[in-house]
């Protein structure tokens, strides 16, 4: 486990370096002055500009410049947003938790729906229910997420009036910002309307989370179906059968456990996909997350915000990736020895 941890840690540092290098080089790739792209201070006067050039060591060679940039990032200084002129680190701290919350709930829903369906399909391999589930899965990952979101709003918010269509919580509730994760903040708050706020927030998250969850859920269906078919074909299952265990016992005691371990390996990769879907969905459901903020920044050509947003978002995805790797390794000792990952 120690070597595994060390190897992952080195991979983590390596990837962080690559990512910061990428985000550093974006300042050069984007139109406009590099140091302004770094700092986002578009209205800087000549003296301020000179000051910035000094701080970012723009007169030195490229490695020193990168070092200066890295120091800023490590100190939590991402510069200022070109559009709103407020510090980007503060904006990100406010927005990122909402995205984390939404994507984790969506991931949970996707797994909750996808994995059992996949198992059912595998157990009824090549039967009608298997085909039905597979067709559903095919449709699910073919549907454009933004269109699905619109249909969901039309049906559930306006047609039936069951669920709200926009935002994280009704704006009437005043929830103090503590962690940024709405549910935790509600529980921490001392508002007299705590439980109403809680139920309101739950109603708000259902629709966007389900919309995001659909495509990953279909992937989980396919993954879990494949994993289950593989497990069911394995010799230990045959052995269990020979021992006289009932089909139910085999499935619940042996097959599910082992199939689940296979699936966890893919959660990290799926999570990246899910976050991308969340970015688009946030736009449709006016979710105050980092995805919507980034897409707005792109259309406003707020380069500093794009650069920092990308860095933070990809770090977040990568951290989840590593985490699932650890969970997988903890559950499956065989994986720890693997030199090249998978």
């Amino acid at each position: 486990m120690l070597t595994f941890t060390l190897r992952r840690l080195s991979l983590f540092i390596f990837t962080m370096l690559v990512l910061t290098l990428l985000s550093f080089s974006l300042s050069f790739l984007f139109p406009g002055d590099t140091v302004i792209n770094h700092s986002g201070q578009i209205n800087a006067t000549a003296t301020e500009l000179a000051q910035l050039n000094k701080v970012y060591q723009m007169d030195k060679n490229i490695f020193t410049q990168y070092g200066a940039y890295l120091t800023h990032i490590l100190n939590g200084d991402f510069g200022y947003s070109m559009a709103s002129h407020s510090p980007i680190s503060i904006e990100i701290i406010k927005l990122l938790p909402a995205t984390i919350e939404l994507s984790l709930v969506a991931l949970f829903i996707a797994m909750l729906i996808g994995i059992p369906l996949g198992f059912i399909a595998a157990i009824n391999h090549n039967k009608a229910s298997d085909n039905a589930i597979l067709s559903f899965a095919m449709l699910g990952y073919s549907i454009p997420v933004f269109w699905l979101g619109l249909l969901a709003i039309l049906i559930f918010s306006i047609g039936l009036g069951w669920l709200p269509s926009a935002g994280q919580i009704s704006l009437l509730f005043e929830i103090e910002f503590v962690t940024g994760v709405q549910f935790i903040d509600i529980l921490l708050s001392d508002s007299p309307y705590k439980w109403q706020a809680f139920s309101n927030a739950s109603a708000h998250i259902i629709l966007p989370a389900c919309v995001i969850a659909l495509a990953p859920a279909t992937i989980f269906i396919r993954l879990s179906r494949a994993a289950m078919i593989e497990v069911l074909a394995a010799s230990y299952i045959r052995a269990a059968k020979a021992k006289g265990l009932s089909f139910k016992q085999i499935i619940f005691r042996h097959a599910i456990r082992n199939a689940l371990i296979q699936i966890i390996r893919h959660v990290g990769l799926q999570f990246a996909n899910l976050v991308t879907l969340a970015m688009v969905t946030e736009v449709i459901f006016s979710w105050p997350g980092i995805g919507r903020w980034m897409i707005e920044s792109i259309s406003q050509r707020d380069y500093t915000a794009i650069q920092s947003g990308l860095l933070v978002l990809s770090c977040f995805i990568f951290i989840i990736h590593i985490l699932t790797d650890f969970i997988y390794a903890a559950l499956n000792p065989l994986a720890r020895g693997n030199n090249h990952g998978s």
Partner: protein, 561 residues
């Protein structure tokens, strides 16, 4: 151990209760009372600042002026009548150069988490507010950029010699010359009164910028929270001098996308929505109503006269001739607007029906382009504003129609759009070639259409993105202001309009109504006759009564004009 199990049991039961209440949404009474005491307003954009002195964008004044502040005097009705507000009464000397205001003595400033007032409103506050604009050496003049677009555009600094404090509750304005629109300008949303004591406090804390970000005023609401692009939360100002507002909380849900505003309105997630689209959809719903108000405005297509090829008058005329205004009005305003002959709407007293209008004539447009030397046509950019305003409910679609019209005379149009604040900033820097914008009158005096929009001073200050400056035109405006004789003024303005229609710094398109939609449980006037909106008089009916209303469909009036 027993205690532990007890705890566990109580926690479990708590969780179950919570879960049930989540599922069933019980305790509705509390939610209702909270929502009954609050209004959610779906607004169309983020304000740049909370000080209307600093901006002429309608979004900013809507979010600040009538909610947070008061002015010395106000318009009392649609006619040119002025009434008292923070000033109980006023007196103008015969030569019109000295105006004395007698102030109210019972006005309290907002008490918020960031400021506690220790004294009542008095003459110092008036002096502070106006000197900030007038006096370049005033400690707050340069705070937040030192640009006061409305005041600059009406030449306020040149007009006012000084503002004097006579005693604690009497102030006198001394003017350099007689100006017939001076009082009207003081009644606009821009001439708000700030707190001098707050200014002092901020200066001591050396955070002067806060004066425009964390505002303190005398208005019916005070700021609680502002998150750019997301929401503005106001609380009621309980000690408001006209009596406290009926709602306790006012939330601006900032929703720049028109579809998302409509969605929220249809899903009852907001009580009132600014600039709604799909009027038909709203009127067919029995729980919503659409209202409109005739406002003095003009939507126009402007040219940057400092840039190629629009520095050439012929090109401006050619482009104007190639645009089919009637189609724009039918499509964009759905027929709910009057075609603009010039910049003044028909309802203004200075309107001149004789003004010649440049019609739709693509053939002449093409020949004018040839005379101007653009036989092959050219490529231009067209900046379409990203928000809906009364004068232009959908600039992007309008831009597309213009794109199609201009293609016919061989001109390629590239449509450009930015987020509102960025759009205005870049526009004032003159990065554009042509743009779609408009003007909402702040008061019924016709000068408000001319000086702030097209005078030389406004083009120098950047509030006139055509950057057009015509000496003859400017002189006419000055002449019109120096007299109170209505018929003389009218003839000056008529001449000025002819110059505009000849020089074509901009092509006036339409004068439109301002629309707003709300749930039928929201009562009270919101749309003001001039300029912005005010939530002071709004109340919310309890839901019960609303159902009774629904039983009687005749009672639910759908469109009230």
């Amino acid at each position: 151990m027993v205690v532990l199990t007890m705890n566990f049991k109580s926690i479990l039961s708590l969780i179950i209760v919570a879960f049930i209440s989540i599922l069933t949404g019980c305790n509705e009474t509390n939610i209702l009372s909270l929502s009954e005491r609050s209004i959610i307003y779906c607004s169309e954009g983020s304000p740049e600042t909370f000080n209307p002195q600093l901006s002429i964008s309608g979004t900013t004044t809507d979010a600040s002026a009538k909610q947070l502040y008061n002015t010395l005097i106000i318009y009392t009705d649609k006619k040119n009548t002025l009434g008292p507000s923070l000033a109980k009464s006023w007196h103008v000397t015969r030569d019109g150069k000295k105006i004395t205001f007698y102030l109210r003595q019972d006005v309290k400033f907002h008490h918020t988490s960031y400021f506690t007032p220790t004294r009542l409103f008095n003459a110092d506050d008036v002096l502070f507010s106006f000197n900030r604009v007038l006096d370049k050496k005033h400690p707050f003049h340069q705070v937040s950029g030192g640009q006061y677009p409305f005041f600059q555009s009406v030449n306020f600094t040149d007009l006012v010699e000084k503002v004097e404090k006579i005693n604690d509750f009497t102030v006198r304005f001394i003017l350099k010359r007689n100006d017939s629109s001076f009082l009207a300008n003081l009644a606009t949303d821009y001439a708000v009164i700030l707190s001098e004591e707050y200014g002092q406090t901020l200066q001591n804390k050396s955070t002067p910028h806060d004066i425009d970000i964390l505002p303190i005023g005398t208005g019916p609401f005070k700021l609680k929270d502002y998150r750019v692009g997301s929401l503005i939360r106001f609380y009621r100002h309980d000690a408001y001098w006209q009596g406290k507002a009926k709602i306790e909380q006012l939330v601006y849900d900032i929703s720049p996308r028109e579809t998302s505003r409509l969605t929220k309105l249809l899903a009852n997630e907001c009580d009132v929505s600014s600039y709604p689209i799909a009027h038909g959809k709203i009127t067919e719903r029995s729980d919503l109503k659409l209202e409109s108000i005739t406002s003095l405005n003009v939507g126009y297509f402007g040219f940057n006269t400092k840039k190629e090829p629009f520095n050439n008058k012929l090109v401006r005329q050619a482009i104007s001739l190639a645009i089919n205004k009637q189609v724009l009005i039918d499509t964009i305003y759905q027929g709910q607007a009057a075609r603009a002959k010039s910049i003044l709407p028909k309802t203004s007293w200075a309107y001149d029906s004789e003004t010649p209008e440049l019609g739709y004539d693509p053939i002449r447009a093409k020949s004018l382009l040839e005379v101007a030397g653009y036989t092959q046509g050219f490529t231009m950019d067209l900046w379409a504003m990203p928000v809906q305003r009364t004068y232009n409910p959908n600039a992007l679609t309008m831009a597309k129609l213009i794109q199609a019209d201009l293609k016919k005379i061989g001109v390629e149009v590239k449509i450009v759009s930015y987020e509102w604040i960025t759009f205005l900033r870049r526009l004032s820097l003159g990065e554009h070639q042509s743009f779609l914008l408009g003007w909402n009158a702040d008061h019924p005096d016709p000068d408000n259409f001319f000086t702030p929009m097209l005078s030389c001073s406004s083009s120098e200050k950047g509030s006139n993105p055509t950057f057009w400056c015509n000496k003859e035109f400017d002189q006419l405006l000055k002449n019109a202001l120096s007299t109170t004789n209505i018929s003389k003024r009218k003839s000056y303005y008529a001449k000025a309009m002819r110059i505009i229609n000849e020089e074509m710094p901009l092509l006036p398109i339409a004068h439109s109504k301002r629309f707003q939609a709300r749930g039928i449980d929201v009562e009270g006037n919101i749309l003001e006759d001039f300029g912005g909106i005010s939530f002071y008089q709004v109340t919310k009916k309890p839901k019960k009564i609303q159902y009774e209303d629904l039983l009687e469909p005749g009672k639910a009036e759908k469109v009230s004009n």
